[in-house]
């Protein structure tokens, strides 16, 4: 949370949401198309898809951007519907844990391939 945060914490969230949205609108269809175009594959072919360093970096980068985008979106939803402060903070924590855990799991998965 930003220091001296007050009336304008929303500006950063708004800008993050838009910037990550633009990045994802370009990255995700490309990744999905590459994935679908590669099918059908056997196990070796599947591993080979994730072998190049640039592919792993691109995937991990997309995951981090996606996690940021999802966090802003889920935060917006929870601010509207989870009114009791304790419940909202608990749900924030769960959302962050799920997203950070997913990125970490992806990192470990791709790391082990090498």
């Amino acid at each position: 949370m930003r220091r001296g945060a007050g009336a304008h914490t929303g500006t950063g969230a708004w800008l993050t949401q838009r910037a990550t949205a633009v990045a994802l609108a370009v990255l995700l269809p490309l990744l999905l198309a590459r994935l679908l175009a590669a099918l059908p594959v056997d196990y070796e072919g599947w591993r080979a898809l994730f072998a190049p360093a640039w592919a792993r970096v691109a995937l991990l980068l997309a995951a981090v951007v996606l996690a940021l985008h999802a966090w802003v979106g889920l935060r917006d939803i929870l601010m509207d519907y989870a009114k009791p402060v304790a419940a909202r903070l608990a749900l924030y924590f769960i959302v962050i844990a799920v997203l950070a855990g997913s990125v970490a799991w992806l990192l470990v998965t791709l790391w082990r391939l090498g």
């Binding site: 949205a21 994730f50 995951a63 799920v98 992806l106 998965t109």
Partner: protein, 126 residues
Amino acid sequence: MKARTHPVHLDLLRIRLPLPGWVSILHRLSGALLFLAVPLAVGLLAWSLSDEAGFWALLEGSRHPAARVLALLLFWAFAFHLFAGLRHLALDMHWGVGLQAARRSGLAAIVASVAAALAFAVWLLA
């Protein structure tokens, strides 16, 4: 205090949303659904890359009708979230903010996402 004459309730079954309202709530719903898909996708990827047995087990499981319905649902959620998001970015730039234009672009987002989902369904069954 003057009695309120407008209805004050958030009963989703009684509120009659205009089309852009539906686009807005579906944008949120699809986003929430895609959030849930994140750990699922990472888990499936980890499983598929873990060893050869895991890969073939996952491939076998992906042929199950329930898996295909889930894949189709998530694909639709992604397509709709993308199209509705692009519409939102356009609205941010004050493009298409008129009532008629906003209704048309909202309808376009729904139609385009359903068309994309149908194409995906055809690809799934082919």
